[in-house]
Symmetry: C2
Subunit: 179 residues, 2 copies
């Protein structure tokens, strides 16, 4: 099936702050030609950070795209496409929450929105958190909170927690570790 | 916290096929001004389609953004921002798999990638599937497959199934219904 789609041309429409926007000219298997959207993203990493009492560290921040605050697991874009994602996840954990960790364990990878974007997020689990200090980016303003897995799962079904990496990560962690 | 961020300007950079790309000029709480990316999406709907034998209907299709095939739950964009998402999920199920359903049950909503995009996907569960016929869009080429929940969960941890709506939906369905 894959061989029948052919990309004839990829044109940069605009360079952005964290993404670039392209128009892809596609040859469709039925012979037609169509122009599809493509958003290029460098990739990201995220961390399920487990405190000794079993609660997870969560970050609350304002998201301009949704015009509201969200509750998410700590996460952020890679510092360039070659940054190892376990280091990036640990870096974002420390920057956003003020805790560091030594041996993040791989949980899974997700692709956020496959119809038009190549963004990949590698998600890890951190335990034995070590107090350090929060150091946010200039445009980051974040509150750190902690919840039990059961509380977070309830928030998912109640619609209070919708961010896809966070929904997937919490449910995948809960299932893997019997929470 | 939310009140301290202020959007000064939103400028359309380019109109796309399924998204529009904007530059948002933001006043940051520290007083700085920054230009952020914003991708506008009309929203989508997706269906966890459960056969009488408990297996879920999945669609395999080529995704240009990833340059490979993916395995996903049936899903698609809304026909305009006002289409009820339960009807959209049922429509996409029928178009993509050739099965229809009568009473889709709401499972949850996700936001695919909150750092730059407003895309929301409402996810439903369909049972008592009724054979109808597949009728794909002109540029859709899809294979329909069926897997047990256990097989799909395994694929998530093995990295064979990464699409965020699908990962979240399968784990949320599995937990809610004790699969």
């Amino acid at each position: 099936m894959a061989e029948e789609f052919k990309r004839i041309k990829r044109e940069l429409v605009a360079k952005g702050h964290i993404i670039d926007y392209y128009h892809d000219t596609m040859q469709i298997p039925n012979g037609n030609v169509a122009v599809w959207d493509f958003i290029k993203h460098n990739g990201a990493a995220a961390m399920v950070a487990v405190r000794d009492d079993g609660k997870l560290l969560m970050v609350r921040q304002y998201r301009n795209a949704l015009e509201r605050e969200t509750l998410e697991i700590p996460a952020g874009g890679l510092n360039g496409p070659d940054e190892p994602t376990d280091l990036a996840a640990a870096r974002e954990l420390e920057e956003e929450t003020g805790y560091r960790c030594e041996h993040p364990e791989f949980l899974m990878s997700i692709r956020t929105t496959v119809a038009f974007c190549d963004e990949k997020i590698d998600i890890y689990v951190a335990r034995n958190l070590i107090p350090s200090r929060q150091h946010l980016d200039e445009d980051e303003f974040i509150n750190v909170e902690a919840y039990s897995v059961e509380e977070l799962v309830e928030m998912i079904y109640e619609g209070k927690l919708q961010d896809s990496k966070t929904v997937g990560a919490i449910l995948a962690y809960a299932r893997k570790y019997g929470k």
